[in-house]
Structure formats: structure tokens, C-alpha cells
């Protein structure tokens, strides 16, 4: 891509927990329009790096900068599911709509534009029929698609995905990748952590291999 705007700039970045460094002295740029796949073994630091980009983990040293006028509330994020969420009493619609909370300082009521956008995102992930269902009663794959719908609602310029196809059947996996590729074609920048190397390589415009990064360090 020519003259692509840089969105995320990592300089001398070190990330980790306690005394353990998972990412060390990393220089890396993510540009507008990238479809970046992050692959590597368990524990190689893929999720940690994504959390760093998402602003959930402060760098031990170095910096992660949002560039090109990218604001945090233009980012959509699909985290791995937590224990708390598995038995959470909330309707699918409530969860998807909560994506808009970051975009307004004060949002006591959702407007019809919010509801329409939420419906679009639910349609994309084939969850619109589950709109009134209770999140804790859904199957693992349905839950995952609901969380993707929420991430799509929040994503205006950048979409961060942490193992988006975990627990999905082959059909849903296919749909998931098609939705992501469609968004990418429309100009969305995508950063995805995945184990699914083959599919990742098909669609991705760039691949970041954490196995190689750590071996290079050694």
C-alpha cells in the first residue's frame, strides 16, 4: 500500500507481567488498511501484545502510540471471554448496544441511530434472531458471535480480534472470516490473534510470527 497512514506505532516496546517480559524491544508499525494476523505458540505473547494495543496493559518500557488521528473510541475489540460473562444476566441487545458507551461521555439513552447500527452488526454476525435472548443461555459459538457484533459496533477504523473463531463450528468460522474480510475490503484495519494459520495467511496482508520474534531475541 502506498503512503498508508500509520495508526499504531510501537517503539522499543517491552510488555509483560511481573518480572516476565513477553514482548521485548519491539519496533512495529500498523498502517491503515492492514489486515495483520498475529500467530505463535501459547504463551508467546500474542494476546499480551494485543492488550498493549488495546491500552489494557501499560508498556514496561518504550511506547505504543495511536497515530493518524486514531482515537480509542474508534477501536473495536473482541477479547477472550471471561468467567464473569459466562453466567451474566443480560440480553444480547444490551450487550451489543454497550459498544457505544465509549463514544459519548454521557449516554443515558440510546438513540435510534445506535439501535439501527446495532441491528446491522447483529445481522452481519447472524445474531439478530437472538436479540432478546439471555447471554448466559447461548452456546459458546453464539456468545462469540454476539461479542463480535459488539466489537463491530465499536469499530470505526480499527478492529482488534483475540482468537475470534474459538469455539465456532466450521460454518460459523467461515462466516466470521467472510465478515472480517468484507470489513477489511471496506477500509477497516484489522489486527487478529489466531491459531488458524492457514486461513490467516489466505486473507491477511501481513503476518507477525511471535515464535520468530522470540527466537530472534534468543
Amino acid at each position: 500500500m502506498v503512503n498508508a497512514q500509520t495508526l499504531i506505532k510501537c517503539r522499543q516496546l517491552t510488555l509483560g507481567y511481573g518480572s516476565k517480559d513477553l514482548v521485548r524491544d519491539l519496533d512495529y508499525d500498523i498502517n491503515e488498511g492492514d489486515y495483520l494476523c498475529i500467530v505463535g505458540h501459547n504463551g508467546s505473547g500474542k494476546t499480551t501484545f494485543l492488550k498493549g494495543i488495546a491500552g489494557l496493559l501499560s508498556p514496561k518500557s518504550g511506547s505504543i502510540e495511536l497515530c493518524g488521528g486514531l482515537n480509542r473510541n474508534q477501536i473495536g475489540y473482541l477479547p477472550q471471554m471471561t468467567v464473569v460473562q459466562k453466567d451474566f444476566p443480560a440480553s444480547v441487545e444490551e450487550i451489543v448496544l454497550s459498544a457505544f458507551q465509549g463514544k459519548h461521555r454521557l449516554l443515558p439513552f440510546y438513540k435510534s441511530a445506535h439501535r439501527e447500527r446495532a441491528m446491522e452488526c447483529m445481522a452481519l454476525t447472524r445474531t439478530e434472531s437472538l436479540r432478546k435472548s439471555c447471554f448466559r443461555e447461548l452456546s459458546g459459538g453464539q456468545k462469540q458471535r454476539v461479542l463480535l457484533a459488539r466489537a463491530l459496533c465499536a469499530a470505526e477504523r480499527l478492529l482488534l480480534l483475540d482468537e475470534p473463531v474459538t469455539g465456532l463450528d466450521p460454518e460459523s468460522t467461515g462466516t466470521m472470516y467472510r465478515v472480517i474480510e468484507d470489513l477489511h475490503q471496506k477500509g477497516m484495519t484489522v489486527v487478529m490473534v489466531t491459531h488458524d494459520v492457514d486461513t490467516a495467511l489466505d486473507d491477511a496482508t501481513r503476518v507477525m510470527d511471535f515464535n520468530k520474534i522470540s527466537t530472534k531475541e534468543r
Binding site: A54, R72, Y77, S91, S98, L107, A154, L160
Partner: protein, 281 residues
Amino acid sequence: MPIDKLLFYLDFPFVRYAIIVGVLVSLCSSLLGVTLVLKRYSYIGDGLSHVAFGALAIAAVLKVTNNMLIILPVTVAVAILLLCTGKNARIKGDAAIAMVSVGALALGYLLMNLFSTSANISGDVCTTLFGSTSILTLKAGEVYLCVVLSVVVLAIFVLFYHKIFAITFDENFAQATGVNTAFFNLLIAVVVAVIIVLAMNLVGALLVSALVVFPALSAMRVFKSFFAVTVAAAIISVVCSLVGILVAILAGTPVGSTIVAADIVAFGSFYLMSLIQSRES
């Protein structure tokens, strides 16, 4: 006739005060209770109320006339410490709460014993711990304070209801997509502390957790959306407190434990309802 007896008691201002404070406190505590239970902080009510008890002892020793001036800031400070250090704290959530909770209880009792001028220390302690009479001895000033604080708490909750939902369901997502989670966690901690201090008057320091936990858990058995759970918890809590206070007045039982007993009955019924519900589907 119980009705006549009730009307007779309602003529007394202290009974009306008790009902006003009871309704407001149970309303506020149940609203925040849903969030606390879901965030796995069910025991925070217990911990903070013991801290409030310790602060009360300090206030008694220092002979401060308006003990709220000490209790409220101390409890708020501890709440912030417990709820906002979060993931990076050296001592994790439940352990920190347990430590602060028993520590404050022990030191409070110690202080009261060492410095108290009262002839009936164990009676005083029992009253603060179980709130056996305190709600029936409220003064007009305390009722006004309670009304003002409750209205502020309710306003905050309504205004930020969706933000509170977003943070409760997925704090990481909220933070990653631009919600100021640090601020809202701080806000929740302060509000929780205020509610706990208010609720101590109602049921006493040992039973505060019940007001926070029971209505939320009852509502979560049956209802399937966060909004329905929140509204149902509020209604359950207010009804149980009203029933508890009225029964306590009529039957002469301790107010706090009667309210909690009503909450337990409500939980039992909702649990049964959920069993029937799941059998039908």
C-alpha cells in the same frame, strides 16, 4: 387488630423516619448490589461495614459529636483502596476484603473497650453490629442526610446506568473502546461506601451484605436481561424492607434481622420460580 396497631405506630415520627430510610437505603443498596455481585465483590458490603464500625469506634473515642464526619471519609477511602487497586494489587480482592474486614472489627471493639465511658459496652456493640434499635432512634437531621445522599446515589445510577452495565459486563472492552473505567470504578467505590454507611443504620454492620446480595441474587434467578434484573432487585429489596420493618414493629422483633429474614424468604421463592421456569422450557 394488627391494622389498628400499625396505624397507631405510624403516628410516631420515628416510625415514619424508619420507613423512609428503610425504603431509600434498600433501593440504593439493591441497585449497586447487582453490579457488585456480578463483579464478584459480594462481600464488599460486609468488609466496608466493619470498617465503618471501626471508624465509629474511633469517633466515639475522639468524642466527635457528628460521627458521620469520621465514618464516611474513612469508609470511602477503604472502598477506593479495595475496589480500585483491582488487578495489580499485591493482595487480591477477596483476601484484601477479609483482612480489612476482620481487622477493622477487632480494632473497633478493642478501642470501644479501652476507651468507652458507657456502662453497657456489649449492648452498644451489639446495637451497632445488628442495628437492633438504631433505625427506630433516627433523628430528623439523619433522615434528611439519608434522603439527600440517596437521591444523589439514584441520580448517579440513572445517569450512568449504561456505563455501569458496560463496565460490569466487560471492563476490558469498555476501557479498550474509550470508556474512562478508572473514573467510573472510583465513582462506584464512593457510592458503595456511602450506601453501606447508610445501610448500617438499617440492619447494622453485620447484616449489611444481605441488603446488597439477596435482592440481586433473587432477581438473577428469574430475569434474563440486566435491566429486568436491576428493576426486579430494586422492587424485591424495597418490598422486603417494608415487610421486615412492619413485621418488626408489630411483632417486636429486631428490625435488621427481620428484614434479612424477609430477603431470605424472597430468595427462596425466586429460586423455586426459576426451577419451575426451567422445567417448563
